[in-house]
């Protein structure tokens, strides 16, 4: 069998993270994958050494544009661990609420994109429409749709006024009602079952070997969740469940994300109810020397920060590990053996801050012939497979179309 190399990446104009995947293909099957990164290494760890502990919060917020609060969340905890700072109770609840609002909008973003990849653009349109009110609430509470600048070592910068509570609860009810419908539609859809089940399965053993985190590991049946395992902020003060699924395939990952949205909504509501009055900031003026570790369960998995200080204004060393850093290498275990039409979907299933499926070149190793595949081509391949399954199953409509919803509009 002739072996073909398909490079995916490194740049995609719509996504923030350039990465480069080389797929080795025999016929339709992927037989090997190589990954390259570093096209956009911004030297943030080095940069942080030149900033004060307070300034670094804003710096790390800019690491990710989708889950922007996860890095400050982990970073501030690392500084607090290093300098033994106490966080006031109210600030703990506010942190939890911001973190969970972010999880909801990040998961909604993923569900929409997954719908687009599968050829269900109705899902894409509706879910992204549903994401808007979440961002509106973020803007109301923090002043920004993203990059909230809410965190600081020892507390938070802004309070959530009690008057804002009813509006947040109202929005959450709206989102959960809608997502219940979507989740039911997705879970009952025979085409999606046929299309996603057994695709790109990550076994328990591989999940452990690659040290994967977040929904990627929970979909493999391992109940690993930083919020429960290393309780922080107000997560141990509210009642919620760790969502897991079996199989580790794309379907399981989708199920985990969909169900986590409801858990997040539950956490926010309970936090709003239990949030005590009081200060939101410890008002710390000095910082001790030492070393500290901060962890946060971001929408994509554990964010890990290690900070060391010598008693001065700046960190001596600031190590940052984002969840995709450990999740992406697991492609080697999931993509190999699958078809090219599933590759884009599997790569997307770990939600790797999307990774650039633009500018794909197919090179035939033997003839040296090149064939260019764009992201549109990859999406088309994926759509064609969904259509084929639909035809086989005699399904004509997408899960949402069967619900007879009005046309999406403002």
């Amino acid at each position: 069998m002739k072996r073909t190399v398909i490079p995916i990446g490194p740049y995609h104009p719509l996504q923030e993270e350039p990465e480069f995947f080389k797929l080795y293909v025999e016929g339709e099957r992927v037989v090997d994958i190589e990954m390259f990164l570093g096209y956009n290494h911004r030297g943030i760890e080095k940069l942080s050494e030149a900033k004060t502990f307070d300034q670094s919060t804003f710096l790390v917020e800019r690491i990710c544009g989708i889950c922007s609060t996860s890095h400050p969340f982990a970073y501030t905890q690392a500084v607090e661990d290093m300098a033994d700072l106490e966080v006031p109770e109210r600030a703990r609840y506010i942190r939890t609420i911001i973190g969970e609002l972010e999880r909801i909008h990040s998961h909604l973003l993923w569900v929409g994109l997954a719908g687009h990849f599968l050829g269900y653009n109705t899902v894409f349109m509706w879910v992204w429409k549903c994401r808007e009110p979440v961002l509106d609430i973020c803007e109301k509470v923090t002043g920004n749709r993203n990059h909230y600048a809410m965190f600081k070592p020892g507390g938070v910068r802004r309070d959530i006024p009690n008057e804002a509570k009813p509006e947040i609860i109202q929005m959450l009810d709206k989102v959960t009602t809608f997502m219940q419908m979507i989740t039911k539609a997705v879970l009952d859809d025979p085409v999606l079952h046929a299309r996603l089940k057994g695709v790109g399965a990550l076994s328990k053993e591989d999940a452990i070997r690659y040290c994967v985190v977040g929904p990627t590991v929970r979909a493999s049946g391992i109940p690993r969740d930083i919020r429960r395992d290393y309780p922080y902020a107000a997560y141990d003060r509210v009642d919620w469940n760790v969502v897991t699924a079996e199989g580790g395939d794309v379907f399981a990952k989708a199920v985990v994300r969909l169900l986590e949205i409801f858990e997040s909504a539950k956490i926010i509501k309970e936090c709003l109810k239990k949030m005590p009055d009081g200060p939101i900031d410890g008002d710390n003026k000095t910082i001790k020397a030492g070393e500290g570790i901060g962890q946060h369960e971001a929408p994509r998995g554990e964010v890990f920060h290690y900070v060391r200080g010598d008693g001065g204004n700046h960190p001596v060393r600031h190590k940052i590990r984002a969840p995709s850093y450990v999740n992406i290498p697991s492609f080697k275990a999931t993509v190999v053996g699958e078809t090219v039409s599933d590759a884009a979907l599997i790569l997307a299933s770990v939600d790797p801050c999307y990774c650039c499926t633009e500018r794909v070149t197919v090179v035939d190793r033997h003839s040296g012939k090149e064939q260019k595949l764009t992201e549109a081509d990859l999406v088309r391949l994926s759509h064609e497979k969904t259509q084929k399954i639909k035809k086989e199953l005699g399904e004509k409509k997408s899960p949402l179309e069967r619900l007879n919803l009005p046309k999406p509009g403002r």
């Binding site: 990164l37 570093g38 290494h41 030297g43 760890e45 080095k46 661990d81 452990i208 070997r209 690659y210 040290c211 994967v212 690993r224 395992d229 290393y230 309780p231 030492g290 070393e291 500290g292 570790i293 962890q295 554990e302 890990f304 290690y306 060391r308 001596v316 060393r317 190590k319 590990r321 850093y325 450990v326 290498p329 080697k332």
Partner: protein, 152 residues
Amino acid sequence: MTPERLEEIKKKLGSLVKNTVVKSPRRIYLYVEPEDSFKANKIMFEELKARLCTASGIDTRSSIEILYHWGFDDDHCVLTVKTQAPKPFPEIESIAQFLKGAEWIEREITELLGVTFRNHPKPGHLVLDDDWPEGLYPLRKDFDQIKRGFRE
């Protein structure tokens, strides 16, 4: 982590541990010699079933400190195995030989801090630019950003 559990872990590691710092029940630091680092980390992963959160390196002028952060999820504790690889040629055995999850981070430490990981299954360029000068390590303290033209 309970003190009993820590004793159990230290018993498994035996004489490899040279020093223990318990910062809090959730943060524990163990010191090992550079030649024992591989053995200690192997026990962490294979016998104690810990999860590698990540590794990091720090330039301490006379040596490079290498830290492997292990998450003991059931004990709600991050246990860090520290070692000091002396300069000018810091070198330790690679743990990526038995743990896939350590492959990238060890390559990254090699690039940014100039630590050699012996017997790494897949060494090579990871995060820096392809034409980055050899032997120049940006996270070392003697790396001068201004002189190099990276900063004004």
